[in-house]
């Protein structure tokens, strides 16, 4: 009989290969992934890549246009802002904050949302009603407005902004999980697990949850990208990351007055947001297609 560990190692390699086969079937997903990896690397090695310090002010070079335009300098590839800080360096460092915001928001809202959704769907009754009414209340208020309220209570800052946004995203995860749970609860395989003696915790997390993953993954990646957008929005309003943090939305806020006279100061952060969000959404779609075993053929 084969050594179990040897068997499982080669099996894992095979599983990764299989996963990649299905993921790479979508060219857009792969393109998105490459871009995303690039952004992640950029964030990780920001200190090394970035040509200047993000906070370094070159007073004499304020509002310098990008390198390819008249008056541009090669040392400031994307130009400088009102205080003479290099845009390219600030955008590179800003990627750290945006990715962090996305991660924290998604992890928080996903974990709380899945937990509440599973419990609501599985237990039903008054607990279900209670949870869903609370979620309905949160959803009744426009997300950004709600986040503003929370930030107003907690105080401005990037961390508080992330928590506030996470709270506003939780209801959609709860609803998705609850809906999937209700569908799966009546399936025979859940009954079979019950007959084998499975307790509610096992039923919820091991039997039912894996079958709810597909919509959660898609929602998770959409939330990641929307979180970046919302963090940028809060930053733009001055309630999120505070200046001089180079968060992309804050960058746009700082240079709001220069929109017409020095458009590169707001355009490039905007393009960065756009591309990051697009890449994440493409990867999310590809992930969903690759991870759903029912779509696979053997």
């Amino acid at each position: 009989m084969k050594n179990p560990t040897v068997v499982s190692k080669s099996l894992r390699v095979q599983q990764w290969r299989e996963f990649w086969f299905y993921f790479s079937a979508s060219k857009t997903a792969v393109a998105g992934l490459i871009f995303l990896i690039g952004v992640v690397l950029m964030a990780l090695f920001a200190d090394v890549i970035s040509p200047h310090e993000p906070a370094e002010q070159y007073r004499q070079f304020a509002k310098v246009p990008p390198a390819w335009k008249d008056g541009g300098q090669i040392q400031f590839l994307l130009g400088t802002d009102y205080a003479g800080r290099d845009m390219w360096s600030r955008i590179i460092h800003g990627s750290r904050l945006s990715l962090l915001a996305g991660c924290v928001v998604v992890v928080l809202s996903l974990s709380i949302g899945v937990l509440l959704g599973l419990v609501a769907g599985y237990r039903g009754g008054w607990l279900d009603s209670l949870i869903m009414r609370v979620m309905d209340t949160i959803m009744a208020v426009p997300g950004l407005l709600m986040a503003l309220v929370f930030v107003a209570i907690l105080g401005p800052g990037l961390l508080n902004a992330m928590v506030a946004i996470a709270i506003t995203y939780t209801p959609s995860f709860v609803r998705l999980t609850r809906a999937s749970t209700l569908t799966e609860l009546n399936r025979d395989y859940v009954t079979a697990s019950k007959m084998a003696g499975a307790r509610p915790m096992r039923l919820m997390f091991i039997s039912i949850l894996p079958n709810c993953m597909a919509p959660l993954i898609v929602q998770g990646t959409l939330s990641f990208s929307t979180a970046i957008l919302d963090t940028a929005a809060l930053g733009f309003l001055g309630m999120g990351a505070q200046a001089p943090m180079p968060e992309w939305g804050t960058l746009i806020a700082e240079n709001r007055d220069l929109m017409l006279s020095a458009p590169w100061t707001v355009t490039f952060p905007g393009i960065a947001i756009l591309l990051a969000v697009l890449a994440i959404n493409l990867v999310g779609d590809g992930l969903r297609d690759a991870l759903d075993p029912k779509l696979k053929r053997s």
Binding site: P4, L11, R187, D188, Y189, T191, A192, S193, K194, M195, A196, G197, A198, R202, S207, P210, N211, M213, P293, K294, K296, S298
Partner: protein
Amino acid sequence: MIQPIVKARDLQKHYPVKSGFLKPSQNLRALAGVSFDLYAGQTLAVVGESGCGKSTLARLLAMIEEPTSGRLSIDGVDLTEVNNKSLSKGLRQKVQMVFQDPFGSLNPRHKIGDILQEPLVINTGLNASERRQKALEMMSLVGLREEHFQRYPHMFSGGQRQRIAIARALILKPKVVVLDEPVSALDVSIQAQVINLLIELQQELSLAYVFISHDLSVVRHIADEVLVMYLGRPVEHSSKEVLFSNPQHPYTQALLSATPQVATQRDRQRIKLKGEMPSPIDPPSGCVFNPRCQYANQDCLTTPPVMELYNESRVACWALKQRRIGDEKLAN
């Protein structure tokens, strides 16, 4: 004297159904008074159409739900007296179930090996390699190969999935297996393979089967005793030979008559049942079969009949009791 593995006495199951905001909830009598004894190595077939309560009976026997009233004992242990956790855990292992839909009864996100090992993980203290060993043994017992261990359910055909479901049901070495339409979703040639597997396993492991089916030709082959149900009530209970050669209850006769057969005479007289099975929320008063029965009289409309012994069958029928039909029919 050998004790029956399953002893059911007057099992009832009611569900409250809300009919409106302020109205009191109505009672759905899914099961009304089922009794039988089942011995090891025997097969009791439960036959009836949709809405007759056979699935509810399956759930009660599998201890997924509790009966509203009545007594049920498994392997000598009366379920109503069980409140000890370890006792109920031990009981659970004695009854397992195979479901109708081979595509829905296996968790699509788990590999076959994990599905088979799950009951062992929950109920036994075996370590990983011991569990794997047991699972592989069970797989070969039902005719699957080792390489199937790491595959997902969607990679298997319907017949293979039913084999996996059977393997999962047997891995805890139960005494009773409840089979809820196990072959209805399979092709004829695969049906035959799975039925043969079930018969062989029953012989080898002395299993008691409760075989729920609407397919009378399969029932005729595999059953020892047959219980016919209509709208939650038992109408006839006898051995297989007696039921198929001499059905007593009008519903049983109609059911047998309606079943198409290959060796058929084209113009045979069929007993035609008019109408459809009524809703279990609002059953007819008296004998629930009376709207569709050609022998219904005043008694049938007012009082429900009781299961009584006639020759070798237990039947619940006023017409039979009053000798208006049947072998002892009074000559007019």
